[in-house]
Amino acid sequence: MIVAGQKPLAEIKKMLGDAERILIVGCGTCVTVCFAGGTKEVAVLGSALRMSTQLDGNAKTIDELVVQRQCEWEYIDPLLPELDKYDAVLSLGCGVGVQALAERFPNKRVIPALNTAFMGMPTRDGNWEERCQACGNCVLDKTGGICPIARCSKQLLNGPCGGSQEGRCEIDPDVPCAWQQIWDRMNSLGLQEQLLAVEPPKDWSTSRDGGPRRIVRDDLQLPAEYRD
């Protein structure tokens, strides 16, 4: 899932600037399960901002609301009648949610309260790790299910580099060397011979290097004359 973390309160306050009446909008999907922007986090941030602005001597009106998913029009459209009451929307959605709100409500400032970090998973309580870089051309079958693009610091396809020691990446002892993991995994699968072939240069055009991406599924789209 998409994993995000909250910006520091001071940064959020600075972005709010002169806005006096603010609606915090949370999201019930990815950011709820990474505890960054769900119902509870919205309530905590709302309370913190009300207290903080009051202590600053300029109490702001801060209201709280959560939608099921900020990245889909049908879930955010019902917000429209609410927005007249507010100067700005503080979104606790991921970067996609913030942009959806901004696009749907172009006359309202939408401020991101989160830093969207990566696609990953909780490996244990309170610990999320990056797993996928959306390169657009999955190579996981060649590496025993461990992604070298997301998990090798140098995105090597013929790793490991010389800095791998005791299963740790040279950049940080807490970062496992993805290629050590791949080597171990391919060995346990009996497929280590496959790692002897030189993997040729990657076609990066399917990743962000090729430009902003889109997927179109014609089978899911009604003909133009029948669309709303």
Partner: protein, 325 residues
């Protein structure tokens, strides 16, 4: 001997083909643009080594470009081995710079992954890693052998005659995979290998045994990486802080013994004693390494201590360096 843009293949290549035991050195370009800084270092190495590696933003610290410094060496008559990492360039700029390097008389390229920029002085930079070192080796050797760019188009006037090198680290993990990774680099087309600094001879010998068993020493020239230690602090730093390096306790204790009888306040005497012992240890190492089957030469890395190369090379009986007609 001068190499210009038109003539000549790598002198190092010719020496290896003539079965000479080769000696290469290393030169770190300056953190500035003064050509004289490069010239000064060249004079410290002239006549002592067959070719000189020029590092490429080593440890992700910005320095003068290795190709530019390499050109200075060409003009001064000392053969450069230009290092190229995958961290700062994509495949377009790599090929473009290689064509330029060949035009400037450079004939040896060492293909490396590159230290992550987190270590360096620009940790907020984007890294590239369009290719990895394996793919870079393959690309450069194909430029020479097939005369084509990575995309398959023909290179005008034929491919550049590079002699391609790669690094090997017998001390990184997973240890079992390292000889096979070397085999991969050989199948990617590497012509010569320089290893990481050796401060654990038993492990290195074990590595070379596996390499020889795989027959790799016959396909690629393997140069053992050695370097004189400057102090016990340096030895401990490399043991603890440099990922992928192993330093056997023997070296730490030898360096400590060297200053055991000198008072701590006498820094001058301590440094002199350390340096003397460091050079001696390096000489002993070279002698022992020459006995290992499969070794075609040594690569001496005297970090910011080019003045140490002469005593090491002399002490190890490696002078004079051969000159081919």
């Amino acid at each position: 001997m001068k190499i210009d843009g038109q003539n000549g293949c790598s002198n190092l290549e010719r020496l290896i083909e003539a079965h000479e035991f080769v000696v290469t050195g290393e030169l770190g370009p300056p953190k500035g643009w003064q050509r004289s800084d490069v010239e000064r270092k060249v004079e410290l190495l002239r006549g002592l080594v067959d070719a000189v590696n020029i590092t490429d933003n080593q440890t992700a610290i910005v320095r003068m470009s290795s190709i530019a410094a390499g050109r200075v060496l060409v003009e001064l008559g000392l053969e450069p081995i230009v290092q190229m990492t995958c961290r700062d360039r994509n495949r377009l700029s790599m090929q473009s710079e290689l064509l330029g390097a060949a035009a400037l008389g450079i004939r040896n390229v060492l293909c490396l992954s590159g230290d992550h920029q987190k270590f360096g002085n620009h940790p907020t930079a984007k890294n590239v890693f369009d290719l990895d070192s394996m793919q870079l080796i393959q690309m450069v050797t194909r430029m020479r052998s097939a005369g084509t760019f990575q995309c398959g188009e023909e290179i005008e006037g034929g491919g550049p005659p590079f002699w391609v090198g790669a690094a090997a680290n017998p001390f990184g993990d997973p240890f079992e995979f390292r000889p096979q990774r070397l085999a991969k680099k050989v199948s990617a087309g590497a012509n010569f290998i320089q290893t990481q600094l050796i401060y654990d001879l038993p492990r290195f010998k074990e590595f070379m045994k596996r390499v020889v068993d795989l027959g790799l020493h016959e396909k690629v020239a393997i140069l053992a990486g050695v370097g004189p230690l400057k102090s016990s602090g340096m030895a401990k730093y490399m043991r603890d802080k440099v990922p992928g390096m192993i330093v056997d306790e023997y070296y730490i204790s030898e360096m400590e013994k060297a200053v055991a009888s000198i008072p701590k306040e006498d820094k001058k005497a301590r440094n002199a004693a350390w340096k003397e012992r460091g050079i001696q240890l390096c000489i002993e190492q070279i002698r022992e390494i020459r006995q290992i089957p499969g070794i075609a030469g040594v690569h001496i890395m005297a970090v910011e201590w080019e003045a140490a190369i002469r005593p090491v090379v002399e002490g190890a009986g490696l002078l004079p360096r051969p000159v081919l007609s």
